[in-house]
Amino acid sequence: MYVYDDYDRKLVTERVAQFRDQTSRFLAGQLAEEEYLPLRLQNGLYIQRHAPMLRIAVPYGLINSRQLRRLARITRDYDKNYAHFTTRQNLQLNWPKLEKVPDILAELAEVEMHAVQTSGNCIRNTTTDPFAGVAQDEIGDPRPYCELIRQWSTFHPEFAFLPRKFKIAVSGSETDRAAIQVHDIGLQLARRDNQTGFRVFVGGGLGRTPVIASEINSFLPEKHLLSYLEAIVRVYNLLGRRDNKYKARIKILVRAMGPEKFAEKVNAEWEKTRDGVQQLTPEAIEWAHDFFTDPDYRAYNREQSDAELALLANDNKAFARWLERNTVPHKKPGYRAVTLSTKPTGVPPGDVTDSQLEAIADLAEQFSFGEARITHEQNAVLSDVAQESLFSLWEAARAKGFATPNIGTLTDIICCPGGDYCALANAKSIPVAEAIQQRFDDMDYLYDLGDLSLNISGCMNACGHHHVGNIGILGVDKKGEEYYQIQLGGDSGNDSKLGKVLGPSFFREDVPDVIEKILDLYIEKRQPEELFADTYHRIGHAPFKERIYAAG
């Protein structure tokens, strides 16, 4: 994990001081509301429906036990004893007091954390694969590059007032688990002729106008990473639309210019700087990698360890299920990565209490070298658990409500805060998630359905990524009433696709019935081993539409 040195510490401390001064000027009436707005946003502070909301950065989702404990304490001292994991691997507090925010930031700075650029029209927290560094299909570890990007983009003097927010995601593995094609910039680590580099995608994004990104560079050597990113963002800063908030994202610019033309502009800009000081030196790349070396893994015999685990699983069906759904293979023999589900029925997806944050800290310390990751799906991952400890971990996680074996299933719902918290919402999203979890709480049924993503957003800003869920639910407002539109066929991996709207929207009470009908049809039509997404793409949209809207 990246460790701050004096430079980093100084920077965050200076930032806290700056924001403290800005906040006190605002409270004293010396800084106008509209001037304070972008400043507070770039420090993570929103004004929500009921109270301010503070979004704390968890750089590329990586967090250690000490930080988790501090967060738990902050939720107790400054909030209502819980926090929320976001789809961009950050953490939100829902009830902080505005005047206390500088104090919270100071507390965070003590554990090398901050809320810098988690909001506002600037470059946001870079996100990546929660299994970075341990995945079996990894081409290279994305985290060193995420850290280099984090540093480059933090307090970037040129890019703090972009036309709109700007999000970068990096994937280091063959299977894209970072949804890079729905980001403003998506970077796919690649190797060519013994060189490390990136495929560069731009102009992806969800929201009102969902777009899958276009590839503008098939191999960017790693040393050019920062100058190339700078060229992209500069072209966007100069040419992106500023007249209409809804047309201001880079995706609109890329679409209007065409990806080729956009790439030309970027290249022309990059030519001027590519050999300048931003070029990453071999020492810098090595230095970044040194923060993400392997922990002290023990040497296990793969066959033996796997056999022992299989034996345990044989004896205990509940454990076997959890093992199958909530853990994934690891690059090291005798280890697995474990996902702690934050989504038991009845709890808003991604919500964690103070004691759960502490529990994650304890579990991480006890089982996974003191580190955890927050995932895009709003869960937590312990990335390095020895297989021989899995059973004890499972029992401990169960006691804390983290072992619902639903990862990747229908009830592992991605859900935005929606109308319960968010001022922009058209409709509530949490109660819909809950109703679905309640309806489909039969684990046998869920397993039989297999991998299936269901994403819910409370408005078309799409924070819940409904466009890329196999099933997507969108809250809409019709004459002041809350309705829900359903889309099918979305996907966020290598083969990213946008879902297609089924038809007229539904009342909230009817959503679980509609989902059930969709699933029934899938079960009738599927071929052996066929996943929902595959069946949908094979048989097409029409049969689903027909089933749902048929008379009666």
Binding site: R15, L148, F155, H156, P157, E158, L162, R242, V277, W287
Partner: protein, 179 residues
């Protein structure tokens, strides 16, 4: 055009002597007066620049594309002792890019002046992007006392992760200097 009474130059507050003239104001230009003229007038009113210390101002919206396409204009621009970049709204960040390009790519060495609607809390970033003079213009422009307070925000940060027009160089290079 809105005029500024005071400006920060070289980290200090002083009277701002320059007069900002827009297209329509060009007729009123006086040979002896220090004036900032719209960049287009380098071509359309080139005589106004003869032998006088005139500067120009750029609308951040038109700057880079126009300069790329018109080399002659660009060269004349770079000879001006003062280039002002006019911020139409403080949330419009194009001026930051324009400034860096002027400094880092075109090698502009004269005074780079920020005018218009930028705010105090942007000063540290503006400095890093190459501005060395600041004359906020507004219906109610800041008083000299207030501007003096603004100066405190110029050094909000003393370390920087990334390179910019101030030549700080990326921190990753700094980090290896000592060892």
């Amino acid at each position: 055009m809105l005029q500024a009474e005071f400006a920060i130059v070289g980290g200090k507050v002083g009277h701002f002597d320059w007069v900002l003239l827009d297209q329509e104001g060009l007729q009123a230009s006086e040979p002896a007066r220090p004036e900032l003229l719209p960049v287009q007038s380098l071509e359309s009113h080139s005589h106004l620049f003869d032998g006088n210390s005139k500067g120009v101002w750029l609308d951040e919206a038109i700057a880079p594309a126009m300069l790329e396409e018109n080399i002659q204009l660009k060269n004349r621009l770079l000879e001006c002792p003062v280039i002002a970049i006019q911020f139409n709204a403080f949330t419009d960040g194009r001026g930051f890019s324009v400034a860096r390009m002027l400094r880092e790519q075109y090698g502009y060495a004269g005074q780079l002046l920020a005018t218009g609607a930028f705010i105090r809390d942007q000063l540290s970033y503006l400095v890093r992007c190459g501005f060395d003079a600041f004359a906020p213009t507004a219906e109610q422009p800041p008083t000299a006392e207030l501007l003096a307070e603004w100066c405190g925000s110029m050094q909000d940060f003393t370390v920087f992760y990334q390179d910019a027009a101030d030549g700080a160089g990326p921190l990753f290079r700094q980090r290896f200097k000592t060892n």
